[in-house]
Symmetry: D2
Subunit: 361 residues, 4 copies
């Protein structure tokens, strides 16, 4: 092909642009060898987050707070967007004693993992679900939910939502609830636990047929016992439990995988990476995590963002339990899942340093 005069090319590109077209060959980076990751591995320290949440509790009423008093983790790599990773919203919610957060519903699914406090319950589609530390509570897509405190201290919990994915699909809908008064006498278990909380027992005549779990609460006592037993029977010093829909065995909600991990000190696993991101909450203990060569020290309730395709491993300093959310079921459903176990655990090339700076005032 003879050389094309640049003026002719310029005219061509101008016309293409005016026609609302884009040449593929001028779009660099559209199809990179591996995903171009904007979000960064990052830790939010509980001491700092908790202090700010408590200040919010004093300064901002729930009413003022757009229904909810929530501080979202904003990954520094995402240009100010309130997302912990590219696909996951993660946040800490603070409900003061006697407060309540009014009813609403939305298509993004939410999960709550309780970090501290007592005396709170969430009303999910008229089912009152008590909350206590270590409990996982679901408010699936488009279910009505409101939070009530009858306690004498604050409760703080971790919120995980599929909001970035729902937004990327232009599928976010929201509806505010009625502001009616709700009876504050609550059963110690939710109706969902009565009907679905015993393994293998299901209603013989009315099968559950929705895309999310019929069980709305996964109690810490069960999770803790599962992990204790599983670590005890394992050779590896590590165990992981997945929170599933007991009516199908699939993930509790179709957009987020929830798991809990327990690791004993002295074991460092081979490093892994997977397409898709996750957020790790250090519910108990202390550990090192190494992400793409950077070592982070994690203490109680510290929260770590792990971007897509980042090499990742953990080593416990003391017996440690993590709660995690990830986008794994989405990638699996779409045929995009990809996992890799690296030949060995990765080298540590640096320790996390920005923490002090972040924490200083």
């Amino acid at each position: 092909m003879a050389a094309v005069p640049s003026s002719e090319l310029d005219a061509f590109y101008a016309d293409v642009d005016r026609a609302d077209l884009r040449p593929l060959w001028t779009q660099t980076g559209l199809l990179p060898a591996s995903p171009p990751i904007a979000d960064v591995p990052y830790v939010w320290r509980w001491s700092r987050v908790r202090e700010l949440a408590a200040r919010a509790g004093r300064l901002v009423t729930v009413d003022r707070g757009g229904d909810r008093r929530v501080l979202a983790l904003a990954n520094p790599g995402l240009g100010g967007e309130p997302y912990a990773t590219r696909t996951l919203w993660a946040a800490v919610q603070y409900l003061g004693p006697g407060e309540f957060a009014p009813a609403h519903r939305h298509t993004p699914a939410a999960i709550r993992f309780v970090l501290e406090g007592h005396g709170v319950w969430t009303l999910v589609d008229r089912d009152p679900v008590p909350m206590a530390p270590g409990d996982l509570v679901l408010t699936p897509s488009w279910c009505w939910h409101e939070h009530h405190s009858s306690g004498d201290g604050p409760m703080l919990w971790f919120d995980g939502l599929d909001l970035p994915m729902a937004r990327a699909l232009d599928a976010v809908f929201f509806e505010p609830g009625p502001s009616s008064t709700v009876d504050r006498l609550v059963d110690p278990v939710s109706a969902s636990e009565v009907a679905h909380g015993r393994a293998g027992l299901a209603d013989d005549e009315r099968p559950w047929r929705r895309t999310h779990s019929p069980l709305l609460a996964y109690r810490w006592s069960d999770t803790d016992a599962y992990l204790r037993d599983a670590v005890g029977r394992s050779d590896s010093g590590h165990a992981a439990v997945r929170f599933t829909d007991p009516s199908t065995g699939r993930d509790a909600v179709p957009t987020m995988r929830c798991t809990a991990h327990r690791a004993l000190p002295g074991v460092r696993c081979p490093s892994r990476r997977r397409a898709g991101s996750s957020v790790w909450v250090t519910y108990e203990g202390a550990a090192y995590a190494v992400v793409d060569g950077v070592r982070f020290e994690l203490g109680r309730n510290d929260m770590l963002a792990v971007p897509s395709w980042a090499a990742f491993d953990v080593e416990a300093i003391e017996p440690t339990t993590f709660f995690t959310i990830s986008d794994a079921p989405v990638l699996e459903a779409l045929g995009l899942a990809r996992n890799e176990v690296l030949p060995a655990h990765q080298d540590v090339t640096s320790d996390e340093t920005p923490v002090a700076a972040t924490g200083s005032v």
Copy 2:
């Protein structure tokens, strides 16, 4: 709660910001009543696109073109991004006589719908798939593919990819292929058609077990006959066929629904809207489409973007066949599907005007 001094609030917000947190209550629009749609209903005219593709054929070699000579539809609402809608890449690819586009593979799945030309075949994981007008050809996620012309004129086809979704999930991987020479003698049917192209007939001993269709080509003669029969037996003057995986009945690829519609003149259906977007290619005939009250006139090979939750209906001027792609299987898999039939067809509030401007030079 007593009034909080604004200085105290200011200090609080500054600290929150420094801690890489975002208060939910200052984030307006995160959870809107219905999805905030950036992309706009829009038509790309074939006359304009074809002329520019032909100019690209003269000016730009495939080599120069990053493996492919492709003009992507860029929705004017998306700030310059090369996406037809929020979730869908759509484009026109031009392969000149005797050209070839070298082998590569990527995790985004692609579908091709041939608009004009002859003598081209796509090699998909070593299976040569001939292409002719009206054919739908799949290059599913992570399958090797390359395009070869042995024809004496250009071929132009419509490309649909799930690229925006794969990017939103940080799950794009790409690998260039070897540059080896390929035998150019091609069967008139692909091996996939031999093994899977007869309804209900499957290998008795080696079941197919992948997430995409084993059938790589859906021939226009079949699609056309299906639509002719279905319209003939219908009372509504309208019929729609879905391209499915014959080994499961599910969508041909897990991320995109492909359909073809045929409408007879004189029928205007009630308007519908659904969460999720689509792109409509007017393969045959002429029709009006009304999207959120704006009326577009569509001729042969014109391409229309329909954003999420837009009210949409069509009325054929002459017998018209559309080929479409949408993100429907993704929203269904994630529990986010939502459809609404409006009480009647919508009022036309205006006719599309920007076309002339766009087309003028």
Copy 3:
């Protein structure tokens, strides 16, 4: 058609017979309006069965007993075959203190429902499963199993097997186990309960992929609590729980549905019938059952056979709990399920009379 001489017909039929053919038109009853039922509604009284089982315990060693000391319920309608209904084997097994029944495995699946006794465990594929009254224990198809008593009294349990179905399919295989000594120290829970016995909690990395439940024991305390809660929340005075595979939500074994029912006095439900048979064990309480118009009085541990398509209802005399097995999942899997709720409860046309005769010696 002219009349055919009977001699010609006779010759024809003789030739057909010699050719190992059968004319359809001489086979009366092959395709009846509803299934021709041979088995009859029938009750086996616990007082009688228990007494005979205890005598067997004195007279017959387990060794002599073909591995197992089992008395099978033989429906009087089945011509002496040892089946409770056309499709279900049901029996009472008796294991004396300190006895053990050696290891074997077979393709028919078995379920055990414990009626009385303590101190027994079943080893299923090396997992020791303790047994106590009201527990349901599975020994699925082709799993090794052996029973051990470390108690000081006998245990009696109800056995349910799909044996008639497996035989009708010519699919019965059997293998005797090694006669090695087994360690008699047993955990209070089975490994299956540790891994699968907490609702919604599953191993994150090793999903279960077999056709039967990974959970081998369903404990009476859970079943009882489920039924108590469900009856308490019901308006009907009746509740039923299905024992399911917690990894899929399907029946615990693919060939038998296991359920438990609780009924409060004073409620008589509309009568129902279904294609396929069932066996009902009156675990607690006392009730009337009416089957095809015949009324049976049921006391503790009495066992009732309900044939296919028999009209059936129960009325509790005192709070009553039934354990049941049926062939429902088989009929559902094969597209043969059929259920009918009759307009009202059926008339009682007679009371069961043969009981006294049966019980007399």
Copy 4:
């Protein structure tokens, strides 16, 4: 245990018997190492069957014939029952020119494989399905069906039903149809073929949701072409196609697997056996089959019964096409499937001899 006086044992067994119980330990053969097979490998010769079917055509009207003029294959091992194997009904149906077999429906599913003749169609739930040699036509469970001849010669077809299984489950229901006149003008294709007969094309708005295939006819031209292509691409000289539900990929009916096999001369495969039985129809060619060491020579339309767990292989004498039915999907659904490839093909220990006797008059 001290020796038990035989009088005491005798009294015990008498009491057990009176109580309608059966001791397991006196039931020999209930759980054999492998299934006790009653049915025998057996061939029905077409020459003989066809001659008798033609005589039936002259002697017996369809009315007289209980709706259908059918000669069922009666396996000599089954004590006179009209079943080809333990689980399968197989038969030859004869419809004379101008005859019709009136409408009825039944829960046993039936398949028809046409052996000779023209001009017949079957009306299935109001859809007229033309029949021609080599076609497979379904009349699934509980679908209305009637057969009509508008030809000038007889048609003979092979009938396969799951009747023994449906009877073993006490799930046979039957309903005679109305005797109304049916319009005899028939489309050359059935509506099911229009809607479901093109691979991968399905209605976009009305998905099929039943347990059997929506496609009622699988045409010989397709089957033949599939086998020709598959054998041509195979190294083994053998190919097999399964007839599947195009909406799910599962078997066309849930109770029977239908396949066609083609074998070229000179190849003898390793022998196999499987739990469950099958019937093989030699549609084209000539071959030897060896079943449990007995060699059978098979010619056009000869029909062979293969019992459960029999060692089986074939060797073609000339290019040969078999049509087969089996109970495989039932055993798979119930977790009872078992297959074994023997180390090599089996020795021939004898040739079939009873044929001459059977054929002689």
